[in-house]
């Protein structure tokens, strides 16, 4: 789409604006409309991921009040601020342990960590691997845009080799993480990857991950036009979506070690892991019951604390 066409679409969108026509936003009441417009750039993939998440949550059989979203820092870190659930915008890298505390303290809650690759895998990497190892029953949705976007386009642990970043001006010479392999090898019971183009499949996958008992992980490949695409001369957001369309291969059940991403390489998407394993709290309660017998008081929120 050329710029002038995009401009026309933009104008048309303005004409059917929500306020003027008294329409309800299709994602009401799940969005904090008073906080819209959001901070994300045009053609950013995060908004699509949020829509998929909300569409998935509409279908799960869990009361809205029991769903919590925890984010860290970065563009994706802002997600918690726009979703009308009990939502927590925490510190850089610590969304997962914060979520673990929230979940373990009240096991009734369904806790979703929604954050970015730099946040979850670089500064928060230690928490990701240990929470997966313990199989704490939370869902991690990881937006991967291959770059630190909020701070202006620096190298991430997911940046593909040779890609340009502001702190890799000659291109990246590091080995990036293969996120599904990382999550799977640390013990995640559900691992999937989709791009922001695969809205229906992503929505379904988020729903599955959410309902899976244990540590589930969904990587969402998202376009960052402002930084990643611009620095690497990959075109517009639409060009990136076209790239996903032409180069994504659905490979359900693929061995996670075979799904690494190189610069502008084929992107394997699909559900890679879906296994059964007791989660942390089940182990805690069952093992201690066996060891301590009647002396053991299983963990749960007492009536008194419920107020």
């Amino acid at each position: 789409m050329k710029v002038d066409e995009a401009e026309k679409v933009k104008r048309k969108r303005k004409l059917i604006s929500v306020e003027e026509n008294n329409l309800e936003h299709p994602l009401e009441p799940w969005l904090r409309m008073e906080r819209i417009p959001h901070i994300w750039c045009p053609t950013c993939g995060i908004g699509t991921a949020v829509t998929c998440f909300i569409e998935a949550m509409k279908k799960v059989n869990v009361p809205r009040k029991d769903i919590c979203v925890v984010s860290g820092i970065g563009c994706s870190g802002r997600i918690a601020g726009y979703i009308r659930l009990d939502s927590f915008h925490t510190t850089h890298g610590r969304a997962i342990p914060f979520a673990a505390g929230l979940k373990l303290a009240n096991p009734r809650l369904h806790v979703v960590v929604f954050s970015g690759d730099g946040d979850l895998v670089s500064i928060g990497g230690n928490h990701l691997i240990h929470t997966a190892r313990r199989n704490i029953d939370i869902t991690v949705l990881c937006i991967n845009n291959f770059i630190y976007a909020m701070t202006g386009g620096q190298l991430a642990p997911t940046t593909p080799p040779t890609a340009i970043a502001t702190t890799a001006p000659y291109g990246n010479y590091e080995h990036p993480f293969n996120l599904p392999l990382l999550a799977a090898s640390c013990g995640a019971v559900y691992v999937a990857r989709w791009t922001a183009l695969h809205v229906r499949r992503l929505t379904k996958s988020i729903g599955e991950a959410f309902q899976k008992k244990g540590f589930s992980f969904v990587e969402i490949i998202c376009p960052c036009t402002t930084l990643y695409a611009r620095k690497n001369k990959l075109g517009t957001g639409l060009d990136l979506m076209k790239f996903y369309h032409d180069n994504s291969v659905i490979a359900h059940g693929a061995d996670p070690k075979d799904v690494d991403i190189q610069f502008q390489s084929e992107i394997k998407v699909g559900k890679f892991v879906d296994i059964e394993k007791p989660c942390y709290l089940d182990n805690y309660n069952q093992y201690l019951k066996q060891k301590l017998g009647d002396k053991f008081k299983p963990y749960g929120v007492s009536d008194e604390e419920k107020h």
């Binding site: 925890v70 601020g81 610590r94 342990p97 914060f98 303290a105 809650l109 008081k297």
Partner: protein, 386 residues
Amino acid sequence: MKADPAGVLTGEHYLDGDKACAEGALAAGCRFFAGYPITPSTEVAERISERFPLVGGIFIQMEDELASIAAVVGAAWSGVKSMTVTSGPGFSLMMENIGLGAMLETPCVIVNVQRGGPSTGLPTLPGQADMMQVRWGSHGDYEIIALSPNSPQECFDLTITAFNLSEQFRVPTFVMMDECVGHMTEKVVIPPAEEIEIYPRRFTKKKPEEYLPYAYQEDLVPEIVKAGDGYFFHVTGLTHDERGYPDMSWEMQEKCVHRLLDKINKNAGKIFIIEEENMENAEVVVISYGITSRVALRGIQLAQKAGMKNIGRMRLLTVWPFPEQRIRGLASRVKAFVMPEMNYGQVVREVERCAAGKCKTILVPHGGGTVHPPETIYQAIKEAYQ
């Protein structure tokens, strides 16, 4: 509200300070603990890991101290009283999320069994050199509450007090122990549950549509909610308005941050716990806290034997907020303050600032590793008396 008897080990015990602290947490109603092993605080975690499964609490050993404090803040937002325990290097690692706890106004308790520093320092030996770190360690302006016990009995008592204050003022509250107090074994009396006063969480009674997470109340402490009750609230470490939504204006920065300071400073009178003795005609006042206060007592006795009768003794059980007015008042009528600390001069700066040149302030420094020789305190009192 009275303590839940399930967690109260009523009776007379022979406990070290670390274990007494763990029992204090249990009595206070703490039911979530996340921690990481580090000397000399580990015994608190060990005791909790043994006791929590019997009282319906949950203990988790996290991957590091960053995770521990993050989980503690998260658990608090599920409505459960939560705590972590650490020492020296672990305390340094916790700083960022202590700031988050302060910014979100999260009730929680952090215990620091201080050891000698900097860096790895003296892992198995005492220090009191984290007293300014607890006050200023996380970035930005904020206020916290810090208590300092000088015996296993006080480790029990002040841990309960710390939970109560953290609930009352919605602020991370610190129990600043040290290796000596943590590993010292003495008699600890745990009263019956009905004699232990518990400050309940200040849950709002407002309906979701009326509730604002950071509404300004008369005592400056907003009412709280917890996840899962249908309030659909948002909290953020960003500067925020009464709704909890980010607002990057300088006006909101002033409003948001100033209240974090005011809610502690303007309520400081409700927070101070100070022990005083012989202050009436005091010419010299010895100010101390934690284990050093026990050595200070010996220093004072030596001075009294040498004929110096008018020596006042002040012990800070609450170190932060600092009792500024009291020190200012005394400064205009005493000759000098003498302050032994197991560091090279931290809280003494506050004493000196409040004295404002009206009387002498004499520091008795000690690098840590052991307590002061009482003679050094005696010598300082003698110097002050002249």
